[in-house]
């Protein structure tokens, strides 16, 4: 068995009290936590610190660890005879056992070595898997099938899963009992799936509803029109009522991500030609003369009250 200097890993003296140990660990955990640090060795450093802290924060484990003395890091060492009695009463060897596993087993009241006797076989739940998948909006509406590859100490396996129709952004799903196998009567682990929706060139999701921009010519908005609009199932005709103003949301019922339970909204934007033909200019000038419409009339009134 190889010795690891847990005090050196945490950077504390061997006489450090629990508060010093905790502070040193938290500092390292904050620095090297894989969610925080981009350093390539962050995960290994974090695990190393967590392993050291798991032993040194526990009075019993720390006392057992201190019994080992202070051999150089990485040196082969022989555990005290009492450890043989406590952890391997059947006479199993410690040679292939990691120090961390042995000390962790001490907390669970069982041995860390394969083939050695067990004192109290506690049920151990199988590993949970958390993964995320990216779906197109079309697949989210229709539902889709995919393969999830799950790898752990027990090997690699592929699980074919069907994502039900009507998924939405940040939806979380749980597949019970399909994670790692439980041990000693423990439950099998679960799979947790996080759904991400890939950005779409036209549609923007909000929960199960979808939004898109509908550009209208001024005369379409004023007079009303039948316009062809896209949906996830193909183009459809939308009736634009006469007098439709910019910003109005026109609903296409049941065309959202969850069929029949969510909607697609066209947000109206009124566009004008960047350049006008001579005839168009005449018509607009004519309209400007005859129309009494003032789009800013109400806005000025509202401002006057502020």
């Amino acid at each position: 068995m190889k010795y690891k200097d847990y005090y050196a890993i945490l950077g504390v003296p061997r006489s450090a009290d629990l508060d010093e140990i905790k502070k040193a660990y938290r500092k390292l955990a904050r620095t090297y936590h894989p969610d925080v640090s981009k350093s390539p060795d962050a995960e290994a450093r974090f695990k190393e610190a967590a392993e050291a802290y798991a032993t040194l924060k526990d009075t019993t484990k720390r006392a057992a660890y201190d019994e080992l003395g202070h051999p150089p890091t990485g040196a082969e060492f022989k555990p005290p005879p009492q450890w043989q009695q406590d952890f391997a009463p059947g006479g199993a060897s410690f040679e292939d056992i990691d120090l961390a596993d042995l000390l962790a087993a001490m907390g669970r009241g069982q041995t860390g070595g394969a083939g050695s006797g067990r004192r109290h076989a506690m049920p151990i739940k199988g590993r949970d898997f958390e993964t995320s998948v990216s779906l197109t909006l079309e697949d989210a509406r229709r539902g889709s099938s995919m393969n999830l590859t799950l790898a752990d100490a027990q090997g690699e396996r592929t699980l074919q899963v069907t994502i039900p129709p009507g998924a939405c952004q940040d939806q979380k799903l749980r597949l019970r009992g399909k994670g790692g196998k439980g041990m000693q009567g423990g439950l099998d682990g679960d799979i947790y799936l996080h759904i991400n929706l890939a950005p779409h060139a036209v549609f923007r999701p909000d929960h199960h509803d979808l939004y898109f921009d509908l550009l209208l010519a001024p005369w379409e908005a004023a007079l009303g029109a039948e316009v062809q609009v896209p949906t996830l199932d193909g183009a459809v005709l939308l009736s634009v009522p006469a007098g439709t103003r910019a910003g109005r949301k026109l609903r296409l019922r049941g065309r959202g991500l969850a069929a029949d339970k969510s909607d697609l909204y066209a947000i109206v934007h009124i566009d004008v030609p960047a350049t006008l033909t001579e005839r168009e200019r005449e018509l607009y000038q004519e309209l400007a003369k005859v129309s009494a419409f003032n789009p800013r009339a109400n806005a000025f009134k509202e401002k006057a009250h502020v």
């Binding site: 938290r26 699980l159 899963v161 979380k172 679960d190 036209v202």
Partner: protein, 111 residues
């Protein structure tokens, strides 16, 4: 090797989960979950069931805070505070998404 799928469970407000199962999902004990309820960080659903029942939307934030508790050796009160903040962040993210959906395509912030 291919394995067969069983039923997906939605982890949102449409589904509920018992105290025992919630404890199994997030790696906290039932007593610890009760303490989070006492701190008002976690709210059970109303009902007359013999066991407390919760909205399934708590599963993922509880798994997150339970992992952070282990990783940073946090006490349960800190976990309660974090759970509240995570819930607030999730609500705000949802509001941002809803507002972004209303913004014209050309005005949206890049992902």
């Amino acid at each position: 090797m291919f394995d067969e799928q069983t039923e997906w469970l939605n982890l949102d407000v449409r589904a509920s989960i018992s105290l025992t199962e919630l404890a199994e999902c997030c790696g906290l004990t039932a007593t610890e979950l009760d303490e989070l309820v006492d701190y008002k960080a976690l709210t059970p659903l109303d009902g007359v069931a013999s066991e407390r029942v919760f909205s399934a939307h708590w599963v993922m934030p509880l798994r997150t805070v339970a992992k952070m508790r282990l990783d940073f050796d946090l006490d349960l009160f800190t976990v309660a505070m974090m759970l509240g903040q995570l819930d607030r962040i999730a609500q705000l993210e949802q509001q941002v998404q809803s507002l972004q959906a209303l913004l014209p395509q050309r005005q949206r912030a890049p992902h």
